[in-house]
Chain length 402, copies 2
């Protein structure tokens, strides 16, 4: 396997550090808009970097990306950029007849009249429209293959295959107890993206209604996260799992709730109330600026906070249903301690947890344990081999009976 | 009496509309940095504007202001600008041997080491330093003569003279139920100034400790405001009354609490937490802007909201003590309904309520019912004539036994 990794930010850099310890691939080309960033990622691997090389590429230029895939004879494109670049990279892989893997899906657009009731363009719609074409060509696009979406979808498939006869509800639940020294308020991930994700209408799936949306921050609940993280206030957020899971796993209801916590929810609501979440520029004395950019500029850059960060992050899937005629409820989860990921890989916990899952998936595709054609989510593949290999990577998962 | 009114913003404009109906003065010169604004205020008076004329002046240029006082033979300067211009206007009045009246006091500076325990430079300190000099010259500076400070101080004096033998605590309490159509969040006053006022360390007076400060938003309480406004969450805020009242009225404790309400308090705390209250510019892509200016630019201009506003604003003074050997507790208050002030004067309630009080004071000074020399607060004068004249202006006050 020869891999083109596009994006050498936090997640892309962690991908190189995890992959460098595995032998399943022959070469990995690390490409970024900023060549220096790609070179720094490769240089940081030191003696382990023999199979890696850096390139410059504009992820929005699908012709250039397709040419780069062909020039390096890559058979896989792994997309580690932000979701604005999903479609050009997806099309570039198709043009070059490469396998495509990403950690998100193509973006949504709210319903023009009833944004908080009906879906407009859904996450992934643009990719699934091309599914038949990919399948006919015998090519695979594995979409949403990070941690959430990604591992959370693998957990859903595992629950359906091994733990339940019938499933009432699948709820992905994400929470953390991360703190950052020296800051009163310092998000561990991009505030710009968090605003986008959390203020979009959340999507919910119900078997008898299909997909529908709600107002932001709907259905608050306190979820008790394992391994000492404890109870965190969670709310509905638009996320890929809700679009992916129902396509392959039978469940009467599918939700995604993000453990933002009271404080973060209040911050996001306040930013929205004051119009500070807006991206369109406003006039301020003699200049024009985007309010959301000003908010981001006032906060520290989360990519630089790993050394000051403490605590754990948890991704997981809560499933409620029936097994052998008895009600059952489980939470399948994966926890990363920032202290461990910084010591082992020099990557902060949230970034490392996102990066490890696509590397495991690539290894399963390289070995043939996972194979397929079309546009498929992680739950389209057998879960057992994935979970076993993740454990072999030194990062075990857990199961809690509720 | 010939008056120089400096500042033709919301409050200055309302002053002209209220004064135009009274005969106690001979002439009023309306001066603003923006001549068009002064001209608009005078033009709006129509046939009632005979005694008024507009001038341009820079309030920070004390020489120019003194010259303007002399050129128009004004014997009173009424300051209706923001508190940054208190000191130059105060000095200009002294130079021209005019009576000085303002609605705030000179600005404070927090204690450099213990901002939330000890006072640094207090509100009005710069003015009271000149008190002996004004007194020797036989000149009067009447400071803090708006609604709060102003009418609230008159209420304190009235309570001490007429309602109590001994006072335990005087607490100014300000609350409103104003809403603005078409906006989820639209403050009825400048967000820039509110941030300044509410994030400064609040000051409290106790007879055995003197003046001291606390952390922002301290000692929250729910105060029940009269005339249908109802309960509002109030917190300590830095305000002039706490510095003025103890100089002339005996009380064991003096506080000022602002009925910001939970929502507004949360907004201010969030802005502070995110650093969006800062005035120093931050770099945002290729420009530099002050985050507090961006917050102001995202919200509607409160001066333009009168037509869309509904509800009432209440200013008042709660007093607890002993009368004839029995415990007593009263709330002396003044309520303005926005619908009434818009219909009667075309001024929104908060602005009109601030403006009426200095006009009443000028009329008492013109008639000799109030007289004095030095730097004096409203509570240095007899309260009865003020409250009677305010009622005669068509805006009665109330007393509630608690």
């Amino acid at each position: 396997m020869r891999v083109l990794l596009v994006g050498a930010g936090g997640v892309g850099t962690a991908v190189t550090r995890i992959a460098a310890r595995r032998s399943f691939f022959e070469a990995m080309v690390v490409a970024d808009y900023d060549l220096a960033r790609a070179e720094a990622a490769v240089a940081a691997l030191g003696a382990d970097g023999g199979r890696f090389r850096a390139e410059r590429v504009d992820a929005s230029d699908e012709t250039a990306v397709a040419a780069l895939l062909e020039r390096h004879s890559c058979d896989v494109l792994l997309n580690a950029t932000d979701p604005r670049f999903v479609m050009p990279l997806f099309r570039a892989a198709r043009t070059a007849s490469a396998t495509y893997v990403d950690m998100a899906m193509s973006l949504s657009r709210p319903h023009p009249e009833r944004p908080y009731e009906q879906c407009g363009v859904k996450l992934g719609d643009a990719q699934f429209e091309a599914a038949v074409e990919w399948e006919k060509a015998g090519l695979l696009a594995l979409v949403g293959m990070g941690v959430e979406p990604g591992l959370s979808d693998v957990f859903a498939r595992y629950a359906a295959d091994e733990l339940f006869d019938e499933i009432e509800e699948i709820g992905v639940r994400d929470g953390a107890n991360l703190t950052v020294d020296g800051y009163d308020f310092a998000p561990s991930f991009s505030i710009w993206t968090t605003i986008e994700e959390c203020l979009n209408p959340p999507v919910v799936y119900e078997a008898d209604r299909g997909w529908f949306t709600t107002a932001p921050f709907s259905e608050p609940e306190v979820f008790d996260f394992p391994e000492g993280i404890g109870p965190v206030e969670c709310v509905n957020v638009e996320h890929e799992e809700v679009l992916l899971i129902p396509r392959w796993v039978g469940a009467r209801r599918v939700t995604f709730k993000y453990g933002l916590g009271d404080e973060f929810i209040e911050v996001l609501k306040t930013l929205h109330k004051l119009g500070l979440d807006r991206t369109e520029p406003v006039a301020v004395r003699d200049v024009r600026v985007s309010p959301r950019d000003v908010v981001a500029a006032c906060l520290p850059d989360p990519a630089t906070l790993g050394e000051r960060m403490h605590g754990k992050t948890c991704a997981g899937t809560w499933v409620k249903g029936v097994k052998d005629g008895a009600p059952r409820e489980v939470y399948l989860y994966h926890v990363v301690d920032n202290q461990w990921s910084m010591a082992e890989y020099g990557s902060q916990a949230v970034v490392w947890q996102t990066a490890v899952n696509p590397v495991v998936a690539l290894e399963l595709l390289a070995g043939g344990a996972w194979k397929g054609a079309g546009v498929l989510g992680p739950e389209a593949f057998p879960a057992g081999p994935f979970l076993d290999l993740l454990t072999a990577y030194g990062s075990p998962w857990g199961l809690r009976e509720q």
